[in-house]
Amino acid sequence: MIRVEIRKRLGEFALDAAFDAPPGVTALFGKSGSGKTSLINAVAGLLRPDAGHIEIDGTVLFDAERRVDLPTHRRRVGYVFQDARLFPHMSVAKNLAYGGRHDRERVIEMLGIGDLLDRRPAALSGGERQRVAIGRALMADPRLLLLDEPLSALDAERKAEILPWLERLRDEAGLPIFYVSHAASEVARLATTVVVMEKGRVTRAGAVAEVLSDPAAVGTIGAQEAGAVVTARIAGLDRIDGLTELALSGGRIVLPGKLGRIGTHLRLRISAQDVILSRDKPQGLSALNVLQAEVTAVDEGPEGVAVGLACGRDRLLARVTRRSARALRLEPGLPVWAIVKASAVAPQDVGGAV
């Protein structure tokens, strides 16, 4: 368990954040300027809080009252910066070995960087640089790994290239990770816990599926980014039409493409704006995915109405206009039909097994 509780004034900006992080990937999610990077800098010892307490599994890194402030180099907190920060005067091999040689062979194999060892950082692509930076941090044998928007400097193609490596890291390294991001799709794919930050404060914290499907959190997450995360089992494959049938706890949906083997589980993100609601069972629609659900919450915000839905044990999130909300007389307890567009789950949002 990692405990973070800090206060810091930075000119006009005040950081005042507290949360507990269980093992796994904790996403620090929020708009730019919400204090995410300042927060992990404090955890790494690059920024000294005015007050508070930081500890990892019982080891105190910082405590203002007890005057504990471990210097950065003795914290054993790995940090993968947005811009990788590889040492330009060293080869990849020397960069990797700078902090130690912990688990060297496995790290190199896991990140697929064996062919890059003799190269200089200047000769690497953005995605390769990030992989080397991750490897370098891992080989120093950290207690906690901080990733500061490691994908934000990359184009869509490079992102798609590096995301599977991050998933492998999460599943194989067995190391707590703080993942700073402002992209809900990355958070949905990688994180187990989300800490939502706004103006230096933690506004929500909890399991990914709960926080991202909470209508009240739509305002902070952003209307475009909001969407529920659900776990589905692959129930069938239609080779002729190239479709995958997924079983959710409250029904079945069909997605294009072959997404995995029958019986395996997938993590899906269903964007709130791709869910349509109906009071009656829709007939004669081209969309294949109709789920029966019950309204659990209705939250009116400046950009429309966010509707929380219970569908079996899963929670979904839909966004409708105020007019539609009135016309449908949406209120908690109301049974509705949710139409999920088949293309709704973008391929990069389909994560591996949870």
Binding site: T72, H73, F81, Y98, G99, G100, A122
Partner: protein, 230 residues
């Protein structure tokens, strides 16, 4: 070579090289420290230190030389302390090295400081998160990346020390074999009837040494910059 230069001239060249090399070698650690402190340090008195480092550049050399004489003569506050240890520098070649080091100090610190400022502090932070102490960060990241500037500063200081005249002659006089460096030797030859050919030969040596230092600095900087950035 020795026939081309007279024994007195040869002596002045050798002495100049010895004085300048000693001046640079002895002031290099302090120069690195000052440059790094000015580039990265946030401490009270930073502006004062900056002024102090640059003072010899602005003061008339004769003033610097006279201040050194006041401090380091046998009765001076520092000289009286050094005297019992046999470390007196007054009217000795070590005094010439001290004068040269002080006069060359601003030229040494400036390129080093700029080079340190150009090193991305983010890389130093990255090294710290990998477990490197401040000293190790400096030795393995900051210094190697600033090396072209450090070398440039050292060579510039060497060239300046080779040419130092005013402070040297004021502080340690112009004693053949002890404090008569190339510039003071040229001055002495020009005062002497028939000394002009010897003075001209030393002028030629001066120009050659200065050009060589400049070219060496360029070549080294380029080579190191290539190695650092490749």
């Amino acid at each position: 070579m020795t026939e081309w230069l007279g024994p007195e001239e040869w002596q002045a060249v050798r002495l100049s090289l010895k004085v300048s090399a000693t001046a640079v070698a002895a002031s290099l650690p302090l120069g690195l420290l000052c440059a790094f402190a000015l580039a990265r340090g946030r401490f009270p008195g930073r502006h004062l230190l900056n002024g102090l480092v640059h003072l010899p550049l602005i003061l008339p050399p004769v003033v610097t030389g006279y201040l050194l004489l006041l401090a380091f003569s046998r009765q001076g506050p520092v000289g009286a302390l050094l005297e019992p240890w046999g470390l007196s520098v007054a009217f000795r070649w070590t005094g010439a090295a001290l004068a040269a080091a002080i006069m060359a100090f601003p030229l040494m610190v400036r390129p080093m400081r700029l080079a340190f400022e150009a090193v991305d502090p983010g890389l130093e932070q990255a090294a710290a998160t990998l477990g490197a102490s401040k000293l190790r960060v400096f030795a393995t990241v900051t210094l190697p990346l600033a090396l072209p500037g450090v070398v440039a500063g050292a060579i510039l200081a060497f060239a300046k020390a080779m040419g130092e005249f005013g402070a040297t002659i004021t502080f340690v006089s112009n004693i053949p074999g002890e404090t008569r460096t190339i510039p003071t030797a040229i001055y002495a030859f020009l005062q002497m009837p028939g000394g002009e050919p010897a003075a001209l030969r030393l002028v030629a040596v001066s120009v050659a040494l200065a050009m060589a230092a400049l070219l060496a600095s360029e070549w080294l900087s380029r080579r190191i910059a290539r190695r650092v950035a490749a």
